[in-house]
């Protein structure tokens, strides 16, 4: 409960400061939070009761976007973790494809959109490709790093007991790498929101990102900010779900390691 308060007190405090600042500055580009909230309500929550007050916009733009985002992130997570573990445990494989991957990692997704357009043509696949291509890297790199950093004694223990490959990967490498993999997953999850927007720059007629950019172009700042806030809310919600999974998966971590209170002076 106190944690809850802690968390939201700061948040609410910032919103209040923002409200006061924008009220004082009175700038069209920075509307007041209350105006944004009104715009958001108008955009998404003024629908019929039968649809839980959700407007058509939610069904036409928000849900498809979220669907693409989750699919893209999910595929990236699958590919990133499996490829990352493989590369992390095999120096040879890493040497072969490492430079290539670094090279691809440095290519801005917007530049690749035309190429994806050629290769995938259809809207959703192309957008998925964009999202995957953008969010894969943190997962991949962190998984490689995590898989590499399995404690030497644990590696030797598993080797000595001739732990079969699948058990070694699932039972030793993944748990060892789990904290790092989760760091990558979390960075990627919010990155996938960013890429969702990027992927809606081209070739779409729906989506949160596309709407946000239209609002931006029309100087409809309350709507634009509402879009930004929606992304924030989504990011927060998705992250909370992921954190829940993470807590389950990392429950074994010694308490003092989990929240490294040991770094702090325990004594008051």
């Amino acid at each position: 409960m106190s944690r809850f308060l802690q968390r939201w007190a700061v948040f609410v405090g910032l919103v209040v400061v923002w409200e006061l600042l924008t009220w004082y500055a009175d700038d069209t580009f920075f509307p007041r939070p209350t105006e944004i909230a009104a715009a958001a309500h108008e955009l998404w929550l003024s629908g019929p009761a039968g649809d839980l007050f959700l407007t058509d916009t939610v069904f036409d733009h928000v849900f498809p976007s979220i669907g693409r985002l989750l699919a893209g992130w999910g595929i990236a997570a699958l590919v990133g973790v499996s490829l990352g573990v493989a590369l992390g445990r095999s120096d040879k494989a890493a040497e072969y494809v490492g430079p290539l991957l670094t090279f691809m990692r440095s290519i801005p997704p917007p530049l690749l959109v035309p190429v994806f357009l050629l290769v995938f043509s259809v809207g959703t696949t192309m957008q998925l490709a964009t999202i995957i291509f953008g969010v894969l890297w943190p997962i991949l790199l962190n998984s490689i790093d995590g898989a590499r950093s399995v404690d030497a004694t644990k590696f030797e223990t598993s080797a000595v007991f001739r732990i079969p490959k699948p058990q070694w990967i699932l039972g030793v490498v993944l748990p060892s790498a789990a904290p790092k993999i989760f760091a990558g997953l979390r960075v990627s999850l919010s990155l996938s929101l960013v890429l969702m927007v990027v992927s809606e720059l081209v070739g779409t007629d729906n989506g949160i990102g596309s709407q946000l950019l239209v609002a931006q172009r029309e100087f409809d700042f309350p709507d634009m900010w509402a879009g930004i806030i929606l992304l924030g809310v989504l990011g927060y919600a998705l992250n909370t779900v992921l954190l829940g999974f993470e807590r389950q998966a990392l429950a074994w971590q010694p308490k003092q390691e989990r929240t490294p209170a040991t770094v702090e002076e325990k004594a008051v």
Binding site: Q6, R7, V10, F11, F29, K92, E95, Y96, V97, G98, P99, T102, F103, M104, R105, S106, I107, P108, P110, L111, L112, V115, V119, L141, N142, D145, R148, S149, D151, A152, T153, F155, P179, K180, A183, V187, S190, L191, L193, V194, V197, G209, L212, L213, Q216, I228, L231, G232, V233, G235, Y236, N239, P254, Q256, E257, R258, T259, P260, V263, E264
Partner: protein, 255 residues
């Protein structure tokens, strides 16, 4: 050396596939020119002074952005990773801020910072701090408590523990975060240049090539240059990683 050969083999394999694909007439060569065509354009570009100036502009912006992100994210990560109340208190704000795309922030950034390179650098920093921040926090979570207890038992204060125990121990993973951040800021900077222009750079060069009638060979050559820059940045950082935290490779990351 052998690692290098293998890496080159990997790249060569990719180029061969692309060449075959490009020549297969599955797609018109103007839309996706094969590497042989792009390579010619690339050589031309490398002799082109304005292009080289654009490369320098992008590179400088990336370096500045990475330096700033490290300067912000590492100390912040140390604080958030080690002081639980602060982490809880800021979590909502952080989680809210992270998913806001730089693309949506461009007009606001221009409004606040003008059209110069500051805008793209700030947007790049905004995107690049997250991997460093999170990797730092998670690395601290993994910190062996016995190391901390050792330092504390010998009278090290909180700051000393952070600087001399937590940071070195987290360093390998933080460096991975920095490697991610380096390419992320490269990507963001080129994207901003590409989408909005305003301050030169490879992205703008590519955008010009595109707007002048869709010269895909120039576009891909520019893309290849961006990729090579990213590769070199990463390679440099990996070297640093091997040198500074060589111990982690031997001990398997953990003490």
């Amino acid at each position: 050396m052998r690692a290098l050969t293998r890496g080159l083999l990997g790249v060569a394999g990719f180029l061969v596939i692309w060449e075959l694909f490009g020549r297969s007439r599955l797609v018109p060569a103007e839309y996706l020119p094969p590497p042989s065509v792009v390579a010619v354009e690339l050589v031309k570009l490398l002799g082109d002074e304005p292009f080289l100036r654009d490369v320098v502009a992008t590179l400088l912006a990336v370096v500045i952005a990475v330096a700033l992100s490290v300067g912000i994210a590492v100390p912040l990560g140390l604080v958030l990773g080690s002081v639980a109340p602060v982490r809880h208190a800021t979590r909502a704000v952080v989680e809210f801020l992270r998913p806001i795309p730089s693309v949506a922030l461009i007009p606001l950034a221009v409004l606040l910072l003008g059209i110069g390179p500051e805008t793209k650098i700030v947007l790049a920093v905004y995107a690049a701090i997250w991997p460093i921040l999170f990797n730092t926090i998670y690395a601290l979570d993994e910190l062996d408590p016995l190391l901390v207890e050792t330092a504390r038992a010998f009278g090290a204060g909180r700051v000393r523990v952070l600087a001399s125990v937590a940071l070195p121990s987290a360093m390998p993973f933080v460096l991975t975060g920095i490697r991610l951040a380096a390419t992320t800021s490269l990507v963001v900077i080129v994207s901003v240049e590409l989408l909005e222009g305003g301050s030169g750079g490879i992205g703008q060069y590519i955008a010009n090539a595109r707007s002048g009638g869709g010269r895909m060979d120039v576009v891909l050559a520019g893309t290849a240059v961006a990729g090579v820059i990213g590769y070199l940045l990463n390679e440099g950082l990996e070297r640093a990683q091997r040198r500074w935290v060589g111990w982690s490779a031997v001990t398997g990351g953990r003490s």
